[in-house]
């Protein structure tokens, strides 16, 4: 089953890959076409048809890896910018130059920087231009451009980290325009040279208002520049200065967090200072970001802060400590589990999940015995499940033995959630506990762990306990251990033997309910016999157990009950079981269809038909679609049937697009099903045959559209002929289509003459000629010998899928004309001869090319002659 799923997934992935490969078809362009397109583009403006912009984008894509054509495109774009082209055309071209411009574009763009209407688009083209010329042009334009452009250029120089512009930017700090001065301040910070940093510090000392704010931000950037250049002292001096209480809160927080971002232990001083601050935001920021400092000394500082802090700060400190990888942490957190404040205790429990060990587990278990609140219990249990260290499991088990009943039940669950199988001995003892809640929890854990110390005892408990809850938990445990567990003994045999020994109907029923967990011939037979028992209680139990039977072997028996029983309830139970088996097991589609059809015929009520349709809708088979279509005629189930039709048409689309799309069309035709129309429309539109006209590949007179050795291939009576019956055929030869075909339906008439034991030919599809050779590689729809109707691979030299010869022989005409149909769609290749499908193959090897030419073959060997005519292709979407 797992293997089958993997194949399914591979097919899904493979199908996607085909779509990728097949849909890419790059347009190509000559230098003239590029020039023409861009000349024509000069007058482009609203509301013209935007197709030309798509063409230009295609040009940019096409010239990507072609330096000469790329130069042509750039040259034409420059020419356009220099001409009187519309603003819209020039803007669009600048956005293309953003991608492909070289230094050749720079002089033009530089001029544009000085013009009000074009400065913005020129900036766009130059922003990430990788040539030095661009930076030079931007610096040049800086003194001459208009104010808004100036800001843009300053921003861009900053983003480009253009160190050569630092002097100019420093001068602009004194600009009369506040906006320009601020922009210069920010860019200086972004570029981050020593000289710039110095200028910022000096300017900030005297600045005020918005300029002061901008310079402060910039100064923070300078500090980052120092920190990354290993001048940590200088960086921290700035942070220390900006953390000063005279600064605004956001600036102080930024100084603090930035200092911690350096990761240097020297920053710990700032952290400690912030934790002692009155402002809760700064305090929280210091604690939350303390994780940036890995130094053990920092752990110590957090721990000592924990001792004196208010409880809401303690919560944050405990959380921060819980994230540290430091052995010191455990004791401090353990201490905090004894805090008076409940939030602190809960935070501490939670933190132990990360830093705790076996002794912490014992502590947590013990806390469960001390009247915890519901919130505490939830936290403790969550921690006990997550905590991972040596000996935790056994510590919990030890605590379980000494715990009081409520805690004991919780710890049993923890053991089970932790998958601690070694606890099964203890659990086995506890399932007989006087406290029924404990016993039930133990049984549930045994089932969940799938670990059991003796099935016989649990069966006894199931049959003999006076507590109904325990009896049902025991049954559930037996089923779980049998189905999922690692239990040696054959539970099925055990149950069947017990069944013979017990007398009461109640006991028999208890045992029978287990049988579906141990499927096998004997189990099924036993249930079938019981379903005809004279005792109604036993009959009922058997039918219901069969309906839960996990293997498809029960399907026929259930269908039989559905058809023959006199008990209405059993009818529906059996039908449900039947459908469940069809849906959940890897049942072949053909068998499922057969069962659904039979069930449909026997269905007596609309409710039954609806049930059948719900299952039928999942069967990917054209026949299933037919059943659903028929059901659409039945007014009482029309809605359900239509839903099934749409679902099935979707599934069948890849197998039989005609039927699928006709079915979807039927839903579309009915206006009362409007809700389903969008989905149906998608299916109709997805039909790869929709709107596709057949095209003849061979005109019967010339080799137009074909290439090959014309000494071998000739035309006679409107057919392509190759080979001779007079003597041996020297070697393999192929007549190939000039064009490639990937997804298509090819139909042609073929005839092969010569000895049926030796004559061979075939049709290559998705194939390539081997350079310098007469051979080809690729798939072949084969003809001749035992290969008729098979799919052969001329690459891997093997039969990929063979025809069923006895069946094919019923329709194959050895000496006459045969109708060959070849359908290639996605990774799937299907072949038919005279209407009989011989091959349905899906290529799972993603490396095999799924497009190529069509090649008509004559195979080398003893005398043989092959003829091909009426070659019709439909190229699919």
């Amino acid at each position: 089953m797992i293997y089958a799923n993997r194949i399914k997934n591979m097919i899904v992935v493979a199908m996607l890959c085909v779509f990728l490969a097949s849909s890419a078809s790059a347009q190509s362009f000559t230098a003239e076409q590029i020039a023409d397109t861009l000349k024509q583009f000069r007058t482009y403006d609203y509301p013209a048809d935007p197709t030309v912009t798509d063409t230009i984008e295609n040009i940019v894509r096409f010239v990507g890896d072609k330096p000469q054509l790329r130069a042509v495109a750039e040259q034409q774009m420059i020419a356009l910018l220099e001409s009187g082209a519309t603003i819209r055309a020039r803007q669009f071209v600048c956005h293309q130059l953003w991608i492909i411009a070289t230094d050749k574009s720079v002089p033009t763009l530089e001029k544009m920087l000085l013009e009000k209407d074009t400065a913005e688009m020129a900036c766009y083209a130059l922003r990430t231009h990788p040539f030095d010329a661009a930076s030079r042009a931007l610096r040049e334009a800086l003194s001459r451009a208009g104010d808004p452009t100036k800001i843009s250029i300053i921003n861009i120089l900053g983003d480009r980290k253009d160190t050569a512009s630092v002097d100019q930017l420093i001068a602009l700090l004194k600009s009369d325009s506040e906006d320009i001065a601020q922009a210069a301040a920010i860019s200086l910070g972004t570029i981050g040279t020593d000289k710039g940093a110095d200028a910022i510090r000096k300017a900030r000392a005297t600045a005020s208002g918005k300029m002061h704010v901008a310079l402060t931000r910039s100064w923070l950037r300078c500090a980052e520049h120092y920190a990354s250049n290993n001048r940590i002292g200088d960086a921290l001096a700035i942070y220390q200065r900006l953390f000063n209480e005279s600064e605004s809160l956001p600036v102080r927080r930024s100084a603090l967090v930035s200092a911690l971002n350096t990761g240097r232990s020297e920053a710990a001083r700032l952290m400690t200072a912030a934790i002692e601050q009155d402002d809760p935001g700064l305090r929280a920021a210091a604690i939350a970001n303390s994780s940036l400092l890995k130094d053990p000394e920092v752990t110590g500082k957090l721990i000592s802060a924990l001792k004196t802090a208010q409880s809401n700060t303690q919560v944050l400190l405990v959380e921060a400590l819980g994230r540290r990888d430091d052995p010191l942490v455990k004791n401090a957190i353990t201490e905090a589990t004894r805090a008076t404040d409940i939030d602190v205790r809960i935070a501490a429990y939670d933190a132990l999940a990360h830093v705790g060990d076996a002794s912490s587990a014992a502590l947590l278990c013990n806390a469960l015995n001390q009247n915890p609140t519901e919130r505490q219990v939830d936290t403790i249990l969550a921690c006990l499940r997550r905590i991972s260290a040596d000996g935790v499991d056994s510590a919990i088990l030890e605590a379980l033995k000494g715990a009081e009943a409520p805690a004991r039940i919780l710890l049993i669950r923890v053991i089970s959630d932790r998958r601690y199988r070694s606890a099964s001995g203890t659990l086995h003892g506890l399932m007989g506990d006087k406290n029924p809640a404990v016993a039930k929890a133990a049984l549930r854990a045994i089932g969940a762990l799938g670990a059991c110390q003796g099935m016989g005892n649990i069966i006894d408990l199931m049959l003999e306990s006076s507590d109904a809850g325990i009896r049902s938990e025991a049954a559930a445990a037996i089923i779980a251990v049998t189905r999922y567990g690692q239990y040696e003994e054959n539970t099925g045999q055990l149950i069947l033997r017990r069944l013979k020994k017990v007398d009461s109907a109640a006991e028999k029923c208890s045992l029978m309910r287990i049988l579906p967990a141990t499927p096998g011939e004997e189990s099924l037979k036993c249930l079938q016999a019981a379903s005809k028992d004279v005792n109604a209680q036993i009959r009922d139990c058997a039918v219901r157990a069969m309906a839960r039977y996990p293997e498809p072997t029960a399907v026929e028996a259930l269908l039989d009950i559905f058809e023959t029983t006199n008990t209405p309830a059993h009818r529906i139970v059996a039908l449900q079981g039947c459908i469940r088996l069809c849906r959940t097991t890897d049942m072949p589609a053909e068998r499922a269809v057969k069962i659904y059809r039979q069930a449909m015929q026997q269905a007596a009520t609309a409710a039954e038909e609806k049930l059948i349709l719900s299952g039928l809708a999942e069967v990917a088979h054209p026949e299933a679609l037919k059943i659903a279509l028929d059901a659409m005629q039945h007014q009482a189930v029309k809605a359900e049937a239509s839903l099934a039709v749409v679902a099935l048409a979707q599934k069948v689309l890849g197998i039989d697009p005609h039927t699928a799309s006709a079915a979807a069309q039927q839903v579309l035709n009915d206006s009362s099903l409007a809700g389903l129309h969008p989905r149906a429309r998608t299916i109709v539109d997805a039909n790869p045959f929709k709107g596709v006209e057949p095209v003849s590949l061979f005109d019967g007179e010339t080799f137009n559209g074909w290439e090959g050795n014309l000494e071998v291939f000739r035309i006679e009576d409107g057919a392509v002929v190759a080979g001779t019956l007079q003597g041996p055929v020297v070697r393999n030869e192929y007549l190939c289509s000039v064009k490639d075909y990937a997804n298509f339906e090819l139909r042609l008439k073929v005839k092969l003459l010569g000895s049926p034991e030796t004559a061979n030919a075939g049709i290559q599809i998705r194939s390539r000629r081997v350079a310098g050779s007469n051979e080809m590689v690729g798939y072949q729809a084969d003809m001749g010998q035992h290969y008729w109707g098979s799919l052969y691979c001329e690459r891997r030299h093997k039969v990929l899928a063979a025809a069923n010869r006895p069946e094919l022989d019923k329709v194959l005409k050895l000496e006459g004309w045969n109708d060959y149909r070849i359908l290639c769609h996605g990774r799937r290749i299907r072949l038919w001869i005279n209407g009989y499908q011989t091959v349905d193959y899906t290529e799972l090897d993603e490396s095999i090319e799924q497009t190529g030419v069509i090649g008509l073959q004559i195979h080398g060997g003893p005398a043989a002659q092959t003829r091909y005519r009426n070659i019709i292709i439909r190229v699919l979407k």
Partner: protein, 426 residues
């Protein structure tokens, strides 16, 4: 690998350390549901359109939250935003700002909820952080890779609490899905398929007068100038200058979930290959449909699809032993083997309810801890969408180095950032 986990344990693990639900503690609430002044969080919105009006009701139940201001460049939305807030508080106190810079200048505002068009997300987030505000921003967090990298650095520099609106991280179905993917229950995951719907196609349109009450220049913000064209105003999602189509608009949610489930929150795929269906004559820039295969360094694949209908979107993790899928439209989880589903706790909340995501944000404002959609994680997820679009625009395969955040392709490297219209900058 036997890693069966009981349902209860599973829920607990998925919720993780959220076992300290700060905001339900009665201590935080004063009498009659009012909140002590020190606990109050003053909020404002930037961009008050459809998304904001749908999300805001999920903020309002938190008693400590108080909205005092809204902003929008569209007069009608601004008025509707103010009305929404005023109606909730039963007064007229909410201030409406056409220009969000005035809103950011207010000292009493602690945090902002940003739900503008994509073009403003990172610029507004960064400006808010600089003004000392914490930020919950709608997705996608940026228009370019450089924008969101700058956002990450800014949030780090200012110690800002930033929550990206990838709210599926706070939704039970996706938590469950990613937990299953990471736990090995479906074997080693080799492929993730994420399907968005397909982009619309439109015919050409010409400029029109700017509608009354719309500040078109502010609407465009940092993006390249264009005349007012209704299709651009309403369909900004489908133009490269202002959006990136569903592959980024919705795709960022799924790449975020994929990154989470693959445990690659601090890195990303290294190879991109894709095809797109650019429809000639389409007034919109983005392709009608597309698919991009993103491959991680260890060979795992993330296949991002933009096709079919809105209702068809899903995300599926495929492992060696099975798969798990969340159908985004219905929030239904399916899996193979089906037994996995028994481990799930059932929650009625779907992606449409960002309540849990908001709660995480509000908690982090107090604790200054990292949100579930922290800047770095969100940037990495968003980057996948940006690279996918660059790959489609260039029409070639791309190699990406998640460490240096550069391509080995000079043209693609240029597309990491774009010039912004003055006076805007990052």
């Amino acid at each position: 690998m036997d890693k069966r986990i009981s349902r209860r344990a599973f829920i607990k693990r998925a919720v993780g350390s959220a076992a300290v639900p700060f905001f339900v503690s009665a201590a935080a609430l004063g009498k009659g549901g009012s909140v002590a002044a020190s606990e109050r969080l003053v909020l404002a919105t930037i961009g008050h359109g459809g998304r904001c009006s749908r999300v805001m009701p999920h903020f309002l139940p938190y008693k400590q939250v108080q909205f005092v201001a809204v902003s929008d460049v569209r007069g009608d939305r601004l008025a509707a935003g103010k009305a929404q807030v005023d109606q909730h508080y039963g007064n007229k106190d909410c201030t409406a700002y056409p220009d969000f810079r005035k809103l950011l200048a207010r000292d009493d505002i602690d945090a902002v909820y940003i739900a503008t068009g994509d073009r403003w997300h990172s610029t507004a987030s960064i400006m808010a952080a600089r003004a000392g505000k914490d930020v919950y921003s709608e997705k996608p967090m940026s228009l370019t890779i450089q924008e969101s990298r700058a956002l990450v650095e800014t949030m780090k520099r200012f110690g800002t609490v930033y929550q990206c609106g990838h709210q599926r991280r706070s939704v039970d179905s996706y938590r469950f899905q990613t937990e299953v993917a990471r736990s090995g229950l479906i074997g080693k995951v080799h492929t993730v398929i994420a399907q968005n719907w397909e982009n619309p196609v439109a015919g050409p349109q010409g400029p029109a007068p700017v509608p009354d009450g719309v500040d078109w220049d502010m609407w465009l913000g940092p993006t390249p100038w264009h005349p007012f064209v209704p299709a651009r105003f309403n369909g900004w999602n489908y133009f490269w200058d202002t959006g990136g189509g569903t592959i980024i608009a919705m795709g960022c949610h799924y790449t975020d979930i994929a990154q989470w489930g693959l445990d690659t929150d601090d890195t990303g795929p290294v190879h991109y290959k894709g095809t797109a269906e650019f429809v000639p004559g389409n007034f919109y820039d983005v392709p009608k449909s597309a698919e991009v295969t993103c491959t991680y360094a260890d060979g795992r694949k993330l296949i991002v699809l933009s096709r079919h209908l809105f209702a068809n979107r899903f995300i599926r993790f495929i492992g060696e032993k099975g798969w798990i899928q969340v159908d985004d439209e219905t929030n239904v989880v399916t899996a193979e083997p089906r037994s996995i589903l028994k481990l799930r706790g059932i929650s009625a909340k779907s992606w449409a309810n960002p309540g849990g995501h908001i709660e995480d944000f509000l908690r982090c404002i107090r604790t200054r801890q990292e949100t579930v959609c922290s800047p770095e994680k969100s940037h990495r997820a968003t980057t996948i969408g940006h690279i996918a679009n660059i790959c489609l625009r260039l029409g070639r395969e791309l190699n990406w180095d998640p460490k240096t955040e550069r391509f080995d392709d000079a043209d693609a490297n240029r597309m990491i950032s774009r010039a912004m219209r003055p006076p805007w900058r990052l």
